[in-house]
């Protein structure tokens, strides 16, 4: 029992030390003056050079735009396959005064759904990136036609490959990822009918080591350009080490400068600013936003000098047609690898049809 006493005493001391020795906490002045506080939940680190940094920059751009009217808080490195952590992150942000919660990874969906529909947080608005759940009172989602810049990045890769083998580091064999692989493949084939895409799935949204290992595997199989649907810059660095080219994702980050050609990127502020504006005005109702290249929500990062001028011109010409709405990646006759038909001649897939994609198109092969 002596030891019990000692441990108890020790704990009491921790409290006492922390409580007595402190000066009165300064209140966060910025948050008090703001009309709205928006809390972001990030899966990675805000300086990951990829997925999370793109979200973080969107958050910062939104905050700057409103100049003090809107405050932001965030939690980084929240594990999206750990529901407890996801729930805690949202609850802790709300506890600290957030009126809007933005969940920036697919895996946060079920946690946000649970809180939004619990009845405890009816005055809090939930926005979720990349999911398909919503309700009609306080839960909306947002995503974009990243297939458009994916197609363009495929054109770049198809034009520049010598081996005609393109490597693609994929997250999960899940619709969102399949759409991207298919768009990339179609873009590559539009300029190079012999181009093949090899996919290695890492079964995680982001894991620098696994991403790098997958890229190395693809490089060893003869791929000379590596594209990715994963959060970090690992695949680009692996490509650079092997003297190959790389196409990034999410964020324009030439960290592997000798390899980096371009990247399909997100401009999350294009969604956040109008949405927060309508929340401030009290006019917001939950929606399922799907931003396109016309709105500037998704884009192709400026192609680097490694991409020859004639390729740049060709890609930019198609880009213009996409922005003006004349051309969509999923249009015309498209066959799946197993021979079934994804899209008929003269047809253009709508959003619902695109999000029903569950296989890879001809020319793309995936391994788990």
């Amino acid at each position: 029992m002596k030891k019990v006493l000692a441990i108890l005493l020790a704990l009491v001391m921790v409290f006492a030390f922390a409580a007595c020795g402190s000066t009165p906490a300064e209140d966060d002045g910025a948050a008090d003056a703001a009309e709205l506080t928006v809390g972001f939940i990030f899966i990675g680190a805000i300086n990951d050079g990829g997925y999370t940094q793109a979200h973080y920059d969107g958050m910062k751009a939104m905050e700057d735009y409103f100049g003090g009217k809107v405050a932001t808080k965030y939690l980084e490195n929240v594990n999206d396959s750990d529901k407890q952590a996801s729930l805690d992150a949202a609850r802790n942000l709300i506890d600290q005064g957030c009126n809007v919660i933005v969940g920036c990874s697919y895996g946060f969906m079920d946690a946000l759904d649970e809180l939004a529909n619990s009845g405890d947080y009816d005055d809090v608005k939930f926005l979720h990136f990349s999911g398909n759940k919503m309700n009609d009172k306080n839960f909306g989602n947002f995503f974009g036609a990243i297939e458009q810049p994916r197609y363009l990045s495929g054109m770049v890769a198809g034009s520049m490959t010598k081996s005609n083998k393109l490597g693609y580091v994929g997250a999960f064999p899940y619709t969102e990822v399949q759409i991207g692989i298919n768009a990339f493949t179609l873009g590559a084939q539009s300029v190079n009918p012999d181009a093949e895409v090899k996919v290695v799935y890492i079964n995680s949204w982001g894991d620098p080591e696994a991403e790098k290992a997958a890229a190395e595997q693809l490089l060893a199989e003869g791929c000379d350009i590596i594209a990715q649907h994963s959060d970090s810059t690992g695949p680009q660095l692996a490509a650079q080490d092997a003297g190959a080219y790389a196409i990034g994702y999410n964020y324009n980050n030439p960290v592997a400068a000798d390899a980096y050609l371009t990247a399909p990127i997100w401009h999350h502020e294009k969604f956040l600013i109008p949405t927060i504006e309508s929340i401030l005005a009290g006019k917001w109702t939950p929606e399922s936003y799907y931003g396109s290249m016309s709105e500037g929500y998704v884009d192709l990062a400026p192609m680097t000098d490694l991409v020859p001028a004639d390729v740049q011109d060709k890609v930019n010409a198609v880009k213009e047609k996409m922005v003006s709405g004349e051309f969509e990646p999923f249009s015309g006759k498209i066959e799946y690898a197993d021979g079934s038909i994804l899209c008929e001649d003269g047809q253009t897939l709508d959003r619902g049809q695109i999000w029903a994609i569950d296989k890879l198109v001809k020319g793309a092969v995936g391994v788990n």
Binding site: K3, A6, A45, L75, Q84, N92
Partner: protein
């Protein structure tokens, strides 16, 4: 390191124990404070915020308790095995198998079953599954003297990979657009809440009381302690050591299995391969810090959860990187664990006898 002499302490006056612990805590706060200063934040404010963030409001207390529940029950399970000096490193696997069994009941038995009946069945299934997963290494230890540390550790990976297989294969939810996840539980398989926290906290308290009684007031509990102290004594007293090992491990694994059911039912509301979430390893620390005492386990696990919850709070409130709260947690833990060493051993400098050895 020849010049340092480490000897085991026999008996330490209470006053010394308290002093060593206090020194450890003060040192940990100073060391953590220096690191925090390097990040350009006021350390006193950080420490105050950790307390505020974990106990400041009802919601924060609830958040702290939610984190403590799986830790407490897992620590209790580990404690039973450790009392016997059976190093059960396999709690992760036992939690995972418990969750798997509970999920089978939740998803594949009637949706119209009353809530209470279904939860009871899930709890029983999870305890049996966790118990069986612990029984396997216990059986081989009892019959063939295998090394339980490695055996239980390996069993973790089998359990986790098996759930991964189900998640990507036969149990994949057809409504998830190809995303590898298992279908959510029906309503009658979800643990209800009381005072804003799922009733796992009541289960944790009941478990602590039962294990306390089991260890101190039953013959089996006494036998487990004797085997832990000395197998020779146990054998001399005519105890069936193999049987005691198997029973203790079944209890240990059963408790861990129950954690799997609670987490799957109350938190995830489905089964995921990461359901054990490192609790099986963290609980080794908490059980050990609590000196394998069921009552202190509750206190230590709550303190541990405060650190985690407070760590999340300072990240948001003070905009510090998540690494800062991890560092603070790590440093505090390092010193408190370090103090345990000085409580058990005496460190002195060698003088002449060193030469004799050389």
């Amino acid at each position: 390191m020849n010049f340092i002499r480490v000897t085991k302490r026999d008996d330490l006056p209470v006053r010394m124990e308290v002093i060593i612990r206090l020194v450890a805590i003060v040192l940990s706060l100073i060391a953590a404070g220096i690191v925090i200063l390097v990040f350009g934040v006021d350390p006193v404010r950080i420490f105050k915020s950790i307390i505020e963030g974990s106990l400041g409001t009802t919601l924060r207390i609830q958040q702290t308790v939610v984190k403590a529940v799986p830790l407490i029950i897992t620590s209790l399970g580990i404690m039973v095995a450790f009392k016997m000096k059976f190093w059960n490193i396999g709690a992760e696997g036992q939690i995972t198998m418990g969750a798997l069994a509970a999920t089978w009941v939740a998803l594949f038995m009637s949706d119209s079953m009353p809530l209470f009946a279904k939860l009871l069945l899930m709890a029983l299934a999870s305890m049996v599954a966790g118990g069986l997963w612990a029984f396997i290494p216990a059986f081989f230890k009892a019959k063939m003297g295998t090394n339980e540390t490695i055996f239980t550790l390996m069993m973790n990976y089998i359990a986790i990979k098996f759930v991964t297989y189900l998640q990507y294969g036969p149990w994949k939810d057809p409504n998830s657009n190809g995303f590898p996840k298992i279908a959510p539980f029906p309503e009658n398989a979800i643990l209800p809440s009381l005072f804003g926290v799922h009733i796992g906290w009541i289960i944790a308290i009941i478990c602590a009381i039962l294990i306390y009684l089991f260890m101190t007031h039953t013959k089996k509990g006494y036998e487990i302690a004797v085997v832990g102290e000395s197998t020779e004594t146990a054998r001399y007293a005519g105890m069936d050591i193999g049987k005691i090992i198997i029973i203790a491990m079944f209890v240990s694994g059963g408790l861990c299995g129950l954690v799997g059911m609670i987490q799957a039912s109350a938190i995830e509301k489905t089964l995921v391969s990461g359901i054990a979430n490192g609790y099986g390893f963290t609980a080794i620390i908490t059980a050990w810090l609590a000196k394998l005492n069921p009552v202190i386990i509750i206190v230590v696990c709550l303190a541990f959860s405060m650190l985690i919850q407070g760590g999340a709070y300072i990240q948001i409130a003070m905009n510090v990187p998540s690494a800062v709260s991890s560092i603070v947690q790590g440093i505090i833990l390092f010193f408190i664990m370090g103090a345990e060493f000085f409580l058990q051993y005496k460190v002195g400098f060698r003088h002449n006898e060193a030469k004799e050895v050389a």
